[in-house]
């Protein structure tokens, strides 16, 4: 049973990695803070009984921004080498969306046209 062969990192490399990780951490905390803030806004608007026709689109808009933050900062889509993951997610979303649209408007839930 062999151990994995690994060379120790050079000092410069180590410093670079540390700096990158600090940056990454900062970004994660900021986006996490933003997401909590968005959630507060959404809850707050509902609690304040603002008109539904205003609240619904705003909440959906906030949700959209939050999804993007989630994908890019927590699921690493901003990083290099994630082109395929991005392509797969986009394709998956496209398929899911087209199934739903088909169900609602063409084949089934609504009256068939």
């Amino acid at each position: 049973m062999a151990e994995i062969k690994q060379e120790p990192m050079s000092k410069k490399k180590l410093e670079y990695v540390r700096r990158e990780r600090t940056k990454e951490m900062r970004q994660q905390v900021v986006s996490f803070g933003l997401m909590i803030f968005f959630t507060f806004i959404a809850f707050g608007m509902v609690a304040m009984d603002i008109d539904a026709s205003f609240v619904i689109p705003v909440v959906i808009g906030l949700a959209f921004v939050q999804v993007i933050l989630q994908f890019f900062y927590f699921m690493h889509m901003k990083d290099k080498g994630h082109e395929f993951a991005k392509l797969f997610m986009m394709t998956g979303m496209f398929f899911a969306l087209s199934f739903i649209v088909t169900f609602i408007y063409i084949v089934w839930i609504g009256s068939p046209i």
Binding site: M1, A2, E3, I4, K5, F84, F88, T91, G92, F95, S98, F99, T102, F103, I106, V107, W108, P112, I113
Partner: protein, 639 residues
């Protein structure tokens, strides 16, 4: 290790295969298990044709006939065609891209054992109170009403094999994206690798809907929910949509790797570069994408409405365009080539007209108004057998002959191979061509018999004789395989003499680590380029050093066995329970079922925990060992 231990006992060989994570051995496992199920499905097909050979036949009873057609379809699609394709993907793809194994060798082993246990579970239904009998599509309105446990075997068995397939799909996507040798850009990948990539992507997107559909069916039948029970507010059409959202991509999952095998064979035995390579890649991707947009063409007569039918009809016809691109490119590859009529090439040449005929009837059925006439008739049976046998099975037989030396180090007999080919192709057209006419004359599919004097007699007996020819062809193939293995005349590197892609640059049998040094790829048909420009030796992309390989593991087997046990628990859980559906409410109660379910899941989760907690870092293949192998190979070549 395979290369050093030459004389092994039966026990140690068996243990080696039970624990292997090597893609070449997993390919052989897929081939053996898939071949077994292929024969099983073939026997079921023969039973069907015997029953239908003459009118008013009582060879099979009506109920048994339903079980036989259901198991024939299910076995052939899920347990024969897909695993056999996985066998060839496993055998070739890592070699074609210059990798030492797939990205997740452990998951590869898990995939094959899940498939094998799921397949065994499904087929145990024959001995445990009756097989599923609602057709391979298992439409919920039928399958909920089906008495006994047959459908439960279908649902649980397919759930287990489906998990295996999904795992293998993810594995191949990752392998092809991440593990290509230096210089192997996307547009230099052989077509077999490209079609495997697209088929694996389709698996990743198409299997989740099937998994969900089967879960809903399982909950309805085994745990008292009511997704498909109309009387309690369910909707049986949901099943049809979920099944066909999976089911249509599924047929492309089957045909695309077959296209890949044919593309390799055409260019090898025409001694030409594949004509229109980039168009072929584009067409492959396009077929994969369109495959998701056409599922409702299986449901034209459900009553979706004319607009929906029109949209899906047009989308379906659009698929004929990329498929046509492929057909013309294959013809142009052969055109002007220096053609060698080997057995694989014969299958490939027979595939073009056969598959095109299936494609033409496909476009006919895509016209929604006309489909009301064809629906549920033998015309449909003839169509899908033309594409699946004329496309996929021809591809599998061609691939078996073509890749056999790569997998086993010896050549199948060309003479017997050609006899098999002639019998199989004649038998195939005799069986299915006439079924088009049977359908147009009005014979419905899935009926266990027909009356005398309706004009179906002659056509049916002709069809049955054709099936007999195919059976004889398969028997000769089996004899061929046994004789070849018994004689075991070893062949060396590049046995066909015209190998173009990386897999043929390796010595046979392929060393367990594949490449002593990762090769440098300088263009499409990497090995051919080196043959023309560099004495036929691949240039290494790295210096010869120790490299890392994964350890064998018994965990995939145990993990899959756990699910096999759990499936029995789930199956008998609802028997005789008050809340169960009518189909199983009258059966005797099995109080042990819950404990078997828990025991099985405990085995599975226990294996997962063991896998997670136990460090398994693999081992290093030393430079000295590789050098020794290379010297031996050099000596063998000189002798």
């Amino acid at each position: 290790m395979a290369s050093t231990a030459k004389k092994q006992g039966v026990g140690s060989v068996l243990w080696d295969y039970l624990t292997t994570v090597d893609h070449k051995k997993i390919a052989i496992l897929y081939l053996i298990a898939g071949g077994f199920f292929f024969v099983l499905g073939g026997i079921e097909a023969m039973l069907i044709r015997i029953q239908l050979a003459v009118p008013n036949n009582d060879f099979l009873s009506a109920g048994l006939f339903n079980e036989v057609i259901t198991m024939h379809g299910t076995t052939m699609i899920f347990l024969a065609a897909m695993p056999l394709l996985f066998a060839f993907m496993n055998a070739t793809v890592p070699l074609q891209i210059g990798a030492r194994d797939v990205a997740f060798p452990f998951l590869n082993a898990l995939g094959v054992w899940l498939f094998i246990f799921g397949g065994i579970f499904l087929n145990l239904s024959w001995f445990l109170g009756g097989a599923p009998d609602a057709g391979w599509t298992s439409y919920a309105s039928l399958s909920i009403a089906s008495a006994g446990h047959g459908i439960d075997f279908y649902a649980l068995g397919l759930q287990i094999t489906g998990a295996g397939t999904l795992i293998s799909g993810i594995n191949f996507v990752t392998t092809i994206i991440n593990m290509r040798a230096p210089g192997m850009t996307y547009m230099r990948m052989p077509l077999m690798t490209w079609t495997t990539l697209v088929a694996s992507v389709l698996i990743v997107f198409a299997f989740p809907p099937l998994t969900i559909g089967i879960f809903l069916l399982m909950f309805d039948r085994m745990f008292g929910s009511s997704f498909f029970l109309v009387e309690t507010g369910g909707n049986t059409i949901i099943w049809e949509h979920l099944f066909w959202i999976f089911g249509h991509p599924e047929v492309y999952i089957l045909i695309l790797p077959a296209f890949g095998i044919f593309s390799e064979i055409f260019s090898t035995f025409s001694r030409k570069r594949l004509f229109g390579y980039s168009a072929m890649v584009f067409a492959t991707v396009l077929i994969g994408f369109f495959g998701f947009m056409v599922w409702a063409h299986h449901m034209f007569t459900v009553g979706l409405g004319p607009t929906a039918n029109a949209i899906f009809a047009v989308a379906t016809m659009a698929i004929a365009v990329p498929t046509g691109i492929k057909i013309f490119n294959w013809v142009a590859t052969v055109w002007g080539g220096s053609i060698e009529f080997t057995t694989p090439m014969l299958y490939a040449l027979a595939f073009i007209p056969s598959f095109t005929m299936g494609g033409v009837t496909g476009v006919m059925q895509a016209a929604a108004p006309a489909d009301y006439q064809y629906h549920d008739s033998y015309f449909i049976v003839a169509h899908f057998h033309y594409v699946i046998v004329g496309g996929v099975v021809f591809g599998l037989l061609a691939g078996l002959h073509y890749y056999w030396p790569l997998m086993f180090g010896n050549m199948l007999s060309e003479k017997l191979g050609k006899i098999t080919f002639v019998l199989f192709v004649i038998g195939f057209h005799t069986t299915f061509l006439i079924q088009h006419f049977l359908g147009l004359w009005g014979m419905p599919r899935r009926v266990f018999t027909y009356l005398d004097g309706q004009g179906y007699n002659t056509a049916n007996i002709v069809s049955s004789i054709g099936a007999l020819l195919m059976a004889i062809a398969v028997i000769i193939l089996v004899i061929n395989i046994i004789m070849t293995l018994a004689k075991n005349q070893r062949v060396g590197r590049d046995p066909w003499g015209d190998g173009r892609t990386l897999e043929w640059s390796l010595p046979l049998p392929v060393p367990y680590y594949n490449f002593a040094q990762t090769p440098l790829v300088r263009g499409l048909d990497a090995y051919w380029i080196e043959k023309k420009a560099n004495n036929g030796k691949m240039m290494p992309a790295e210096s010869l050093e120790d490299f890392h390989m994964p350890n064998n593991s018994f965990i995939p087997f145990v993990l899959s066995f756990g699910l096999f046990v759990a499936a029995f628990g789930a199956l008998y859980f609802a028997s005789g329970k008050e809340w169960a559906i009518d189909a199983v409410a009258d059966l005797p109660q099995h109080p042990w079922a819950l404990w078997v379910l828990i025991l099985g899941l405990a085995i599975t989760f226990g294996s997962m925990i063991t896998r997670s907690l136990k460090d398994d870092l693999g081992y290093y293949v030393t430079k000295e060992e590789v050098l020794r192998d290379l010297e031996e190979e050099e000596q063998r070549r000189e002798n």
